[in-house]
Amino acid sequence: MTELATYNFAYLDEQTKRMIRRAILKAIAIPGYQVPFASREMPMPYGWGTGGVQVTAAVIGPDDRLKVIDQGADDTTNAVSIRAFFQKTANVRVTTSTTEATIIQTRHRIPETPLTAGQILVYQVPIPEPLRFLEPRETETRKMHALEEYGLMHVKLYEDIARHGHIATTYAYPVKVEGRYVMDPSPTPKFDNPKMHRSPALQLFGAGREKRIYAVPPYTEVVSLDFEDHPFEIQSFSEPCALCGARGTYLDEVILDDKGGSMFVCSDTDFCEDRQAHGHCGHLSANPAEAAE
């Protein structure tokens, strides 16, 4: 690449980075509060993680090691293209290992391997406002947050119970941060909500189209909303992962044929591959002996 053809480090210009950095500092100081920021057009469409990419670009440095996951997987289109984007524009080292990464940009999952202090988890958020489907006006939802008026959210969860007998919300399950702001954890399965609670990692959320940044600092209370008689529960799966035999992980259903056959596999590919490399295998492993090597 010639000197002329290179972008500024991590694509964004310095003024944009300063603007995003100021917003990130405020977001960390007010956990769960959505800080407006002047989101830029990125070389990818809205909905592909423009918010997360801008947050990562403002934070990342040459010493970082970046991991990008899309629904838990390192090898799907969104993850591959964002990883390539930062390799090209920031020349950073990348990895698929959760433990090796210093920054993990994620679309809708939190890795199964517990995060450690010093790691940064950057979420791509489509709709940052948890109250948006209940109240479409931004002026009103701002006021509701200001007055801590979250009754409507509890009514929504109650209506779930009245209609289905249980809280039917399974993803983007609302949480309360540090006893103050109700926050959308981005459309992660509610399975991942408990991982946010007092996580040692810093969690940053970027919504590009909606132009909001919010954050959860390390060791912060993140409590899923519920009722005393209908406590919050995470999904459970009746069978283990078909490839690595793990129980207690979040599984994806993979269709195998047109006769209704399917298998359940870990959505976190790094976790699953790591287990297989350590000799664990499930009932559909290609070759258990080979996998055990």
Partner: protein, 203 residues
């Protein structure tokens, strides 16, 4: 008037990487209240600005940032000239109109009430006050609790504003409104976001 080259010299040698390095320290400090993060000397600004204070300014300020400086900084033509030349910041005379405040004389700084606390709808429209210190080995040790802190964190800045614990308790009570503090020491920085609860360390 003779040209004073002090104003033009001493910015980041590498503005992109320098700002990134300082920002990461700032972000880590804000996410881990009271923990002291070492930063290298990357810029040199005219007195009374210390290298760390000037580096924070060069990292965060531009033409979109309104900044209030205390008397001991605004009295120095060179310091103000340096800030203007290197960041293009907008200086304001009312601390309540500032997004950032630079304070060199910590003991004489205005009360926290003088700064912008933001509104209930937009608590982010508040002042981040950057205090210039000698270091973090002061005599009075504070115990911090809150988001970003696993159990407790000791914090001993060399200087503190007057009636600090009372003022900070008032600031904490206004949550989510309130100011945030950044402490610029010598080759190190730390921060106190508005969420942190502060008490005198019990012996």
């Amino acid at each position: 008037m003779s040209t004073n080259t002090q104003v033009f010299e001493g910015g980041f040698a590498n503005p992109v990487m320098g700002a990134q390095q300082i920002f990461r320290a700032l972000m880590d400090a804000m996410a881990n209240p009271g923990r002291v993060f070492d930063v290298p000397e990357l810029v040199a600004a005219p007195a009374p600005l210390t290298p760390v204070m000037a580096a924070i300014a060069a990292t965060l300020f531009d033409h979109d940032a309104t900044v209030w400086c205390d008397k001991s900084i605004s009295a120095s033509k060179e310091a103000i000239g340096w800030l203007k030349f290197h960041t293009g910041l907008e200086l304001v005379s009312d601390p309540a109109a500032a997004q950032f405040a630079l304070v060199k004389d910590v003991a004489a700084m205005p009360s926290f009430e003088a700064f912008a606390k933001g509104t209930s709808e937009y608590p982010d429209r508040s002042t981040t006050v950057i205090l210039q210190l000698d270091g973090f080995e002061g005599e009075n040790v504070l115990t911090l609790r809150g988001p970003g802190i696993k159990d407790t964190q000791d914090f001993a800045p060399s200087q503190l504003p007057k009636m600090f614990i009372d003022q900070w308790t008032g600031n904490r009570a206004a949550f989510p409104r309130g100011i945030d503090l950044i402490f610029a020491g010598r080759e190190a920085l730390a921060a106190l976001p508005r969420t942190t609860r502060v008490a005198k360390k019990e012996a």
